[in-house]
């Protein structure tokens, strides 16, 4: 099981802060995971007003794999912690 986190505006738009997802063997990159997440959630939440595709495929979305900033082309495996978030604004 991979743990997926959503932060800040991404979390608010999706209405979800974290979930556990079983990764099929062909889902071995962040991009493939995004496709999987969109497919799963758009099926479940047809009435939810923000579309998962619009939120996660936005070019401003950043990703971290195991708490290190990664790319959408980065490899992932089923035990990883993957997080999606907007550009940081601390300080």
């Amino acid at each position: 099981m991979a743990t997926i986190h959503y932060f800040a505006s991404i979390r608010e738009k999706l209405g979800l802060s974290a979930e556990q997802v079983e990764l099929p063997s062909q889902v071995d990159t962040v991009s493939a995971l995004v496709e999987l997440l969109i497919k799963q959630h758009e099926k479940d939440d047809k009435e939810f007003n923000s579309s998962w595709g619009d939120v996660l495929n936005n070019t401003a979305v950043l990703v971290a794999v195991n708490q290190t900033v990664a790319k959408f082309s980065s490899s992932i495996k089923d035990s990883d912690e993957i997080a999606f978030f907007p550009p940081v604004t601390g300080g």
Partner: protein, 163 residues
């Protein structure tokens, strides 16, 4: 670097307590530079009618701490530093409340000033914090990132070449 304190906390902090702790029992500190960030009534995106009433700060537990440790380590590799303290508050913060504290001690002021500025620049662009600004009319918006990651890295890479 002799000691590094990183704290992500809901409660407020005392500048004096942090400075006192950094100075305690050390006789080699010649310079102590600090930065404190505060919640301003006006943010850059709000018009005069939309005063900020509070900020909500969210972070990524685990990753944020790693980000700050890395930033402190990078500062330590560039300047001769003694102690570094980084505190960032999370949760709901009202106008005039303290958000962030960075304290750097060194033998000389140049290193303390440069490292303190460097840490704040990278904290703002590399550490996993997000701020939401709540206006007096209760309309909240997530603060937009101003500086790009590459801008701040390039600025310090150039400064390093000149030293």
């Amino acid at each position: 670097m002799r000691s590094l304190k990183i704290s992500i906390q809901e409660q407020d902090f005392s500048i004096e307590d942090e400075c006192t702790a950094m100075r305690a029992q050390h006789k080699d500190i010649g310079a102590l530079a600090t930065f404190t960030g505060l919640v301003r009534e006006m943010d850059d995106e709000s018009s005069a009618e939309q005063e900020v009433s509070s900020l909500y700060v969210e972070h990524y537990p685990g990753m944020t701490e790693k980000n700050l440790e890395e930033i402190a380590e990078q500062a330590n590799q560039q300047w001769p530093l003694l102690d570094i303290t980084i505190i960032h508050r999370i949760g709901e913060l009202k106008v005039s409340e303290q958000i962030v504290f960075v304290g750097v001690s060194s033998m000389h002021r140049e290193a303390a000033f440069a490292a303190c500025t460097f840490i704040m620049d990278f904290l703002k662009t590399k550490a996993a914090f997000w701020k939401k600004s709540n206006n007096s009319d209760n309309a909240g918006h997530w603060v937009e990132a101003k500086e790009s990651d590459s801008d701040v890295s390039e600025k310090w890479a150039e400064a390093k070449q000149k030293r």
